[in-house]
Amino acid sequence: MSEPTAAHEEQGAVISTQGLTKRYRGGQLAVEGLDLSVPRGSVFGFLGPNGSGKTTTIRMLLGLIEPTGGSAHVLGEPMPGSARRVLPHVGALIEGPALYGYLTGRENLLRYDAADPTADPRSRAARADRALERVGLSAAAAKKARAYSLGMKQRLGLAAALLQPRELLVLDEPTNGLDPQGMREIRSLVRELADDGITVFLSSHLLDEIEQVCTHTAVMHRGRLITQGTVAQMSAGARGRLAVTTPDPGEATRVLKEAGVADLVTDGEEVSGEPPHAHELADLNAALVRAGVRVRAFGLRRASLEDVFVSLTGEGFDVAG
């Protein structure tokens, strides 16, 4: 048993799956042939529209759902077989928080802590208090959880995931339903945790969220993995677009077209297009100015993950699989 374990650990993958597949009893194929590899220490963004199989994958990784094909290793050990040894080192937030409304926030944490057979009951209260403090809920610890706002519930869910020192945090849509302030707080908490060296596996359908906090990403679409890599590689893969703001869009379009800029789009005072390969952008600007075009702004807009997604799937991102 220890041989394959060591092998997976050496690759430095905290999560690795081989051909992971789940077909539900109704015949619906939720996840198909997933080969995922999450490097240790990364903040891994698991991206895909709603219904693309992200949650099913996460549930398989956590031993809640039995795969119908392939295998999954978490922290180097097979899941769901080694769930009892692996899961004490994994904190999870799955599809939103779930709490006992009739218990206080603190009692909720005590209950979840009691469910972990590796948790020492003598230090249980201290762990709960520390976790509450970490997510900024100490003041509301004695309040019944049903009186919590959605943001507070989300934070309490995070506190439960942080009861023990973890090697891996699995956060499924951690900012879902939060206001912008709540989102910012959760994201900064994720960054803090990553700075502590914890690997964070974060699923989201929000592209900018992944771009803001993640180092690595994988893109799911209709149960399949389309691509995975670092966020930087991913954005570099799609070329940026040239954008010019000018009060003379007509003239600008003519000049740019002559210079070889393709796919030109005019939107009010902004003209954008794909710059030609191997062309110094400054020359384009000079050409515009020579032609008497008054240029207010000129620059290359970096490709977003959304552009990558659209170029990979040929579909908008809001389409559910």
Binding site: E9, G63, R84, P88, L99, D116, P117, G197
Partner: protein, 299 residues
């Protein structure tokens, strides 16, 4: 593993070796009891059960305050009702006989049916499982909590009946069903034995309810199914043409607890009752374990 150490930041040398201790894993059982008995719903069910003997006691007291007897004889009303005026201890037997056919098992059905399905419906089940509670351990903790509820529910009826009986009626020597008299102390002991027997009579239904509870993500559906099954079984048990199957219904020997009030005690039906409850527990306990262990938790 060295990477893991740096990752967790100064943890123990081999952080993966954090062991599960047998004593520590009992924490879930304690937590389960606390969660069960802290709910308002549980307390409300117990309050209903406590009210039954009090109301029966007061009704009997009013009915007989003019020196008359109850309803003109032994017919009608639950067993032992007519003896209550002579000895308050009989209110315990009356109350148990009155609540056992429906009130007691209904409350057990609610608690057992909601045990797993309620957690699934609230979403807390997935967090308990990734904690990781372990499916077998969680099921055992749920089972123990349901058993504790069976005992508490029965004890609630018995204790409130005893208190009401002692307050409203005379106590003293207890005349058993077989005609012999025993001291109040021994009568009390027999009452305790009867309460335990009644609690054990509910175990079969409790396990059945727990099994149903593992099949669905809706606590209400599981509760309704369990209570519905109880009613169906009670109806089947009342149809004489079906007496072939009666010995296999978990309700069949329920009222055999009265045999503990004979001298000597008739053990036959008492033992058959316990055997039948054990059989139901074994069958539906295994089914629940097998089903829950392999089930996809999607809620």
């Amino acid at each position: 593993m060295s990477q893991a150490e740096t990752a967790t930041g100064g943890g123990p040398p081999d952080s993966r070796a954090r062991p599960a201790r047998a004593v520590w894993s009992l924490g879930l059982f304690r937590s389960e009891l606390a969660v069960t008995f802290r709910r308002w719903r549980t307390l409300a069910l117990l309050a209903v059960l406590a009210a039954v003997p009090v109301l029966v006691g007061i009704a009997v007291k009013i009915e007989t305050s003019d020196g008359g007897s109850i309803g003109g004889g032994d017919e009608g009303g639950p067993a032992f009702l007519s003896q209550v005026t002579g000895n308050g201890l009989f209110l315990v037997f009356t109350a148990l006989a009155a609540t056992l056919p429906f009130f007691l098992p209904m409350t057990v059905g609610v608690i057992a049916g909601d045990a797993v399905a309620g957690e699934a419906g609230a979403g807390t089940l997935r967090y308990l499982l990734v904690a990781p509670a372990g499916r077998t351990r969680l099921l055992l903790a749920k089972f123990s909590a349901v058993l504790a509820f069976c005992l508490t529910a029965t004890a609630t009826v018995a204790v409130f009946a005893l208190a009401t009986g002692a307050l409203l009626f005379p106590t003293g020597q207890v005349t058993l069903l077989s005609g012999t008299s025993v001291s109040f102390g021994e009568g009390l002991l027999r009452a305790m034995a009867i309460a335990v027997t009644v609690a054990l009579s509910l175990v079969g239904l409790a396990t059945l309810g727990l099994f149903i509870s593992t099949l669905t993500n809706s606590g209400v559906a599981a509760m309704a199914a369990t209570v519905g099954l109880l009613i169906t079984v009670q109806i089947l048990g009342a149809i004489p043409q079906l007496d072939e199957i009666h010995p296999f219904l978990f309700t069949h020997y329920w009222l055999s607890f009265a045999d503990l009030l004979r001298e000597p005690v008739y053990w036959d039906d008492l033992l058959k009752n316990l055997g039948l409850q054990a059989l139901y527990t074994a069958v539906f306990g295994s089914a629940a374990w097998a089903g829950f262990g392999a089930r996809d938790v999607t809620a």
